[in-house]
Symmetry: C2
Subunit: 314 residues, 2 copies
């Protein structure tokens, strides 16, 4: 049995309730027409720090005992998890040590610093990131919070789908993007416990289809070269998320880069909300009928809305 | 006494309820911090056709008797009012004749045509627009629905503030952009009837400050040259909106172009919603303290979200 239970997801929901937004579910006749079904967007782009990552980070930080918490938390990430962990730690009043490459964009550094995170610079390689993180932990005794391969994170991410299922009962399908697999794992678990007839399908850029390949081959694949515009989905699955996805996810499908960009622009233009390329990945799968959508009720987790407005793909 | 009553606004609300969205009110700690008060955005960018204009157009179209309605409605506009009138007419099942210059952008033509509007092309001058509209009316007996200088339109636009005042009781200030003055008039009337202690302040681009000048001089001013990025606010007031604004609006203040762009970008980046430059005008006034905002509760009508994503101002 997978070690995250419905009770864990409910506890996560209780734990994060005072701090996280209950994000709205948006619909659009124009999108329904494109898809041929009824689409419900769970808008985690409107979550704190602009991404679902705050749910998992917040659950992990508030799961720590006072004794553990006092030494702070640490991670290596330059993306949404870093900002999310910094904010969750700030709310709890403990330090967050964020290891990121010196070359990370100013926007990302500022986001982490803006939430009170203490940035520790490393080189761009994974080896340097891991060595720097180890040093930080040696010095501070901080608890490392992995961005996705962590049961507390998975339970936290699952709260988005749990909320969606309250607002939109019994959807036929839930689509979620898949990078490291924390969101997809949490989504699949929530659906399994709360709405077992709902199929949960991961969507991945074809240029980063390591999870789809892992899913088909049954062997955990390394990440692909970082070429997709969906920069939140570059990482490979971890052993915990892979185990969860193998057991509870129905399928993983892929979309092309121009399909991602087209879906992203469609949502911006017609629904007036800003979604990042990673969020457009499952929307593209619905629009392009990568799975049969005709007449179906389809929930889509919009993972985030953090985009560099100076570098748009059109 | 101004001829639009609280009852007219309530009737408008009843009339449009089956067709218009009850738009959400969004808040943001980041925006509150910038402003120094509590800001509530009434998100008419999430309204049908992406703008508050649908409220007035819908109220006007559904105010017509069956006999009047059967000949359809007509207007000259290439902006949000045109799309709004086309959709409202489509819903009622009557024709909408939209006069617009041949040179109008494809996006605007497509929006009107997409809602079933029948486009009648004219030259770019006001004289040609008016002559073409007259021809259309001669041929069809359609009812002309002016974009703002019309009591049904004013009552319809007032429903946005009426809803805001239900969700956010007793704000200190309501800010609305002012172009032709339909939205500002409706906002001021709703506040006057429902929350008389709330001050209503119009905000205008300094490059299109004809309404501010009309307000100060007591004499209706012609439009300024069309130079502002806030292309929804180019028109001058009409006699009806001017009369309403003189009686019920507390002040009109102005903002610069770069203040508009900065406010627009701030809302996109931090709140993940797409607002058009005209909507950023009142947000800029709050951020730049064009009126004292410290500690105040401030409602802002976000007028629309129709933006050409290929031509962003940054």
């Amino acid at each position: 049995m997978f070690p995250v239970t419905l009770e864990d997801i409910h506890h996560a929901a209780e734990r994060i309730r005072p701090y996280a937004h209950r994000t709205p579910v948006f619909t659009s006749k124009a999108l329904d027409k494109m898809v041929g079904g009824h689409v419900f967007l769970k808008c985690e782009n409107l979550q704190k720090v602009g991404a679902f990552k705050f749910r998992g980070a917040c659950n992990a930080v508030f799961s720590l005992s006072d004794k553990e918490a006092q030494n702070g938390v640490a991670t290596h990430s330059s993306g949404n998890h870093a900002a999310a962990l910094a904010l969750a730690a700030q709310i709890r009043g403990i330090p967050a040590y964020i290891v990121m490459p010196k070359t990370a964009s100013e926007v990302k550094k500022n986001a982490v610093a803006g939430y009170g995170g203490q940035i520790k610079f490393c080189k761009k390689t994974l080896a340097s990131r891991e060595a720097t993180l180890e040093e930080v932990v040696d010095q501070t005794n901080a608890t490392v919070i992995h961005p996705y391969n962590d049961y507390r994170i998975i339970a936290g991410q699952g709260t988005a789908t749990a909320e969606l299922l309250q607002d939109v009962p019994l959807p036929d399908i839930i689509l979620a993007p898949v990078g490291g697999g924390g969101l997809l794992s949490g989504s699949a678990l929530s659906a399994h416990f709360i709405s077992p007839k709902t199929k949960v399908i991961g969507v991945e850029p074809a240029l980063a289809a390591d999870a789809a390949k892992s899913f088909r081959t049954g062997k955990l694949q390394p990440p692909f070269p970082p070429k997709t515009i969906a920069d939140g989905l570059l990482t490979a699955l971890g052993d915990k998320t892979f185990a969860c996805i193998r057991e509870f996810v129905d399928d993983i499908v892929t979309v092309d880069e121009n399909e991602i960009i087209e879906a992203m622009r469609f949502v911006w233009e017609r629904m007036k909300i800003i979604i990042e390329p990673s969020s457009a990945v499952p929307v593209a799968a619905a629009i392009k009928q990568k799975i049969p959508c005709e007449g179906k009720r389809i929930g889509i987790i919009i993972s985030g809305g953090n985009v560099d407005l100076s570098q748009l793909p059109w």
